[in-house]
Amino acid sequence: MSDVVEKTLTALPGLLSLDSQTGAGKLSSTSKLGNLIRSITELTSKHDEEKLIKRELVAIKEQVSSPNTTMRQMKEMMVRSIYCEMLGYEADFSYIHAIKLAQQGAGLEKRVGYLAVSLFLNENHELLLLLVNTVLKVSVFELLLLVNTVLKDLQSTNLIEVCMALTVVSQMFPKDMIPAILPLVEEKLTHPKEIIRRKAVLALHKFYLIAPNQVQHIHSKFRKALCDKDPGVMAASLHIYLQMIKEGAEAYRELAGSFAAILRQVVGGKLPVEFNYHSVPAPWLQIQLLRILTLLGKDDQSTSELMYDVLDESLRRAEINHNITYAILFECVKAIYTIHPNAELMEKAAKCIGNFVLSPKINLKYLGLKALTYVVQQDANLALQHQMTIIECLDHSDRIIKRETLELLFRITNAQNVTVIVEKMLAFLRLCHEDYTIMDLVGKVAELAEKYPFRITRPPHGWKPHTYYILLAY
């Protein structure tokens, strides 16, 4: 978004009647949606908002039930309902109409119907759990209408409808209905268009997340997706693989070579230029691959050895000074310190962490501290090397930096420094207002008090009781 241009409210009347902007919606000045939005921008109090939205909901409720409503008008009503729900006011009478819009609409109307369905309904909704419940907002019949609509669209000759159906399936789909839809989705895995194959893989990812046993039999198809000539389809399969590998790396170690090869190609700039982000080739894909490699190389020397060269290459290539390359470097460093150790790589990674921690850019410093916290258990020397910076960070004006530093210190506590560290934690606690942070730090202080019971001589009664007294104050 440009810092220079921000359309002001005075331009609003013009916007409402003009129809020339590329991509921007055409709204007539009499359109109800346009009126709603204009009113929303003019709201000054919560009370006004409540009045406006309640009126709006009454109007929508009346209009959706009218038999003369066109699909175009229905689309507009769904967007108005989405607005109301976004502001926190339920528009449950609209849910069934969203399903009908998806069923009966075409193109953008259909897409908005599906969008509304994905926003209004969610996995925990009584509807999707098919619980028989007197408070059902939509009947079982109407749920089946949704499923039927999706099934029909999946088989459409219009590819954009297939895409829409696959997208909504990936967002929310009743678990019990998976068997009905699985064969149709599987079929799409071999579709000539990459977008269809990619979305089919993502739908299977969703199925894997909510009902893994339902997709047990098609693991070989995931393998095909991984080897797909289109990088987008391959990237989609990584979501499934990452999940499966998190659950048990052993079974997938044999694929480490393939993942390393893919990363090598990405890092080496073999992807089409449109996959670049600020001259960095597919950075989020690199991060995904690094995470997978990390899990596969952990506790396994031979697998780790397969990835040393690509990690080295990634470290070297990420020399452009952009946030996204720093994000990649962070993942590289984590990988290097998790897999079987390689001295040369660890030295380079240590240097990288050092650069982060010493950086004047605050986001990098944060990342550096986070990386240090991660590696310090394996390389205590690294913390020692940067102790001056760590001490500075302890008194940093940014409380988040302070917090990260305390997190780091907690991991390098020993009999000599425990007193100082606990004092710093208590000092932080005194100024802290967030419940979760307080609970976490209090827990850590208590843990340290248990571990090092009599480390200081002041106050005279011994350290442990004194500290507990302060902790009780929370």
Binding site: K7, L12, A327
Partner: protein
């Protein structure tokens, strides 16, 4: 994973909200107000990642609009920080220099774009052309 994706202005008015983990509708407004308060209290020279409850927020400000993403601790903060920027660049491409009003008047389209990028709290597409392709097809269908 990503828990939610919010666009909230400095006055605390939500311009877009997408939840990838269910949060009851009655609790959302409070969460959003809380989140934006947390971001507003940050200075310009402070880092863009804030602790919130038992997870983290990554925020980025564009004019009067905050984009705030709630993430679990398995996520790389800086990669999400840049994801937000990628998203804004996609919006810029589609709307030719997007503004807060563009988002308000085209809420459905902004959602459609976001749906191409993030699914189930995971980053699924970051190639700008591919993100916009389906929407452009839909726009063409409307024109004809």
């Amino acid at each position: 994973m990503i828990k939610f994706f919010l666009m909230v202005n400095k006055q605390g008015q939500t311009r877009l909200s997408k939840y990838y983990e269910n949060v009851d509708i009655s609790k959302r407004a409070a969460l959003e107000a809380d989140v934006v308060k947390g971001c507003l209290s940050r200075r310009k020279d402070e880092c863009s990642f804030v602790e919130y409850k038992d997870y983290k927020l990554v925020y980025r400000q564009y004019a009067a609009l905050f984009i705030v993403v709630g993430i679990t601790d398995t996520e790389n903060e800086l990669s999400i920080y840049e994801l937000v920027h990628n998203f804004v660049e996609v919006l810029d491409k589609y709307f030719s220099r997007v503004s807060e009003l563009d988002i308000m008047f085209n809420l459905d389209k902004v959602h459609i774009i976001l749906d191409e990028m993030i699914l189930n709290g995971h980053v699924v597409e970051t190639n700008k052309s591919r993100i916009l392709a389906p929407l452009l097809v839909l726009d063409k269908m409307v024109e004809s």
